[in-house]
Symmetry: C2
Subunit: 201 residues, 2 copies
């Protein structure tokens, strides 16, 4: 079995959301698994001295337009949230707490979280919403609340984020690795498929 | 006849260079013309407070790698110039002076200029090289040298650059418009083709 595709994303990232709708199908077409790895993009902005796209003069208007245009191209429901971007620490911690028990469950949570934010416009960084999303998936509210405070969970998110930025050169979301080769952006999925098919060039 | 595709690019832009190899074929497949519109990306950096990609922490290494990876995907010859980026005022002025007389000649000049920079690594912003490239295309050296100083030529480049940034929302190179819809980046060419084929979505 070939190595899993690594899918780094932030829960506040529109292009991450778009990729979340597509990446598993891309992988399945080529007999690959996907390792979902939420991280905190805010840490990148601090290091790189960059800002969220929509706050950059000139780029902002284009980005807002391109988010929904890109989603529409794939028939993915999308509505730009009024509150953007948001801090997604709790969301990502919930993911890793769930993932430690059940990878498929964690992925269902991730999809639900992305839909809550980019379809319903709800602040998915909010702990109460995170707990409610867990409940919808049959996860005990108190269990998850306790899980969010576990040192191993906090450490896991910190480690993934540090590794992404300092060792893997991740500076945006989504950032997708195929056999170690990194690709930035949901619009690179066709290039990624070609890379998988050909073994690279 | 449908409206021409507008191709905004800077002569110092690697992705502009890649698009220059592909855009005419994309257009021809859909019975479109291309209007080549070199502009000065440096003016954007000043307004947007952004920097050339390779100077942004984290993004720099990825960009250098992605330039050549993207070129290789299309079998386009590419070597990252040692001097990068460069000021391309003279190059763009030469283009517009030629374009006022012969659009096809201006396009041949643009291709030659891009090859000189991104294949041979020569500083194509240098006036002497610009004149030499003109000479290779049968353009009298003195005529072109005089042309570069013409107020109308200077004004043309200024107007295109101002219009691109202030009226069209251009903030990178290449920036390609299809029926008024803007797309940023050579990696958007497949999306552009789909847009032309479907009339947009």
């Amino acid at each position: 079995m070939a190595r899993p595709i690594e899918f780094f994303f932030d829960f506040s990232s529109p292009y991450g959301y778009i990729a979340s709708h597509l990446i598993d199908d891309v992988a399945a077409r080529h007999d690959r698994e996907v390792e979902w790895k939420p991280f905190l993009l805010g840490a990148v902005f601090k290091i790189a001295g960059t800002k969220p796209l929509i706050e950059v003069p000139l780029k902002g208007d284009y980005s807002r337009k391109d988010f929904s245009r890109s989603a529409r191209m794939y028939n993915i429901p999308f509505a730009m949230p009024a509150k953007f971007p948001i801090a997604t620490v709790a969301t990502a911690r919930a993911f890793y707490w769930l993932a430690a028990q059940d990878a498929a469950l964690a992925r269902r949570f991730a999809r639900a979280a992305y839909a809550a934010y980019f379809v319903q416009g709800r602040d998915v960084g909010d702990v109460e919403l995170v707990l409610a999303l867990g409940e919808n998936l049959g996860v005990g509210r108190d269990n998850l609340a306790t899980g969010l405070q576990e040192p191993t969970v906090k450490e896991k998110l910190k480690t993934v984020t540090d590794e992404a930025i300092n060792e893997r050169g991740v500076f945006g979301s989504p950032f997708i690795f195929v056999d170690g080769e990194g690709f930035w952006g949901s619009d690179r999925l066709p290039m990624i498929e070609r890379w998988i098919e050909t073994g690279g060039w």
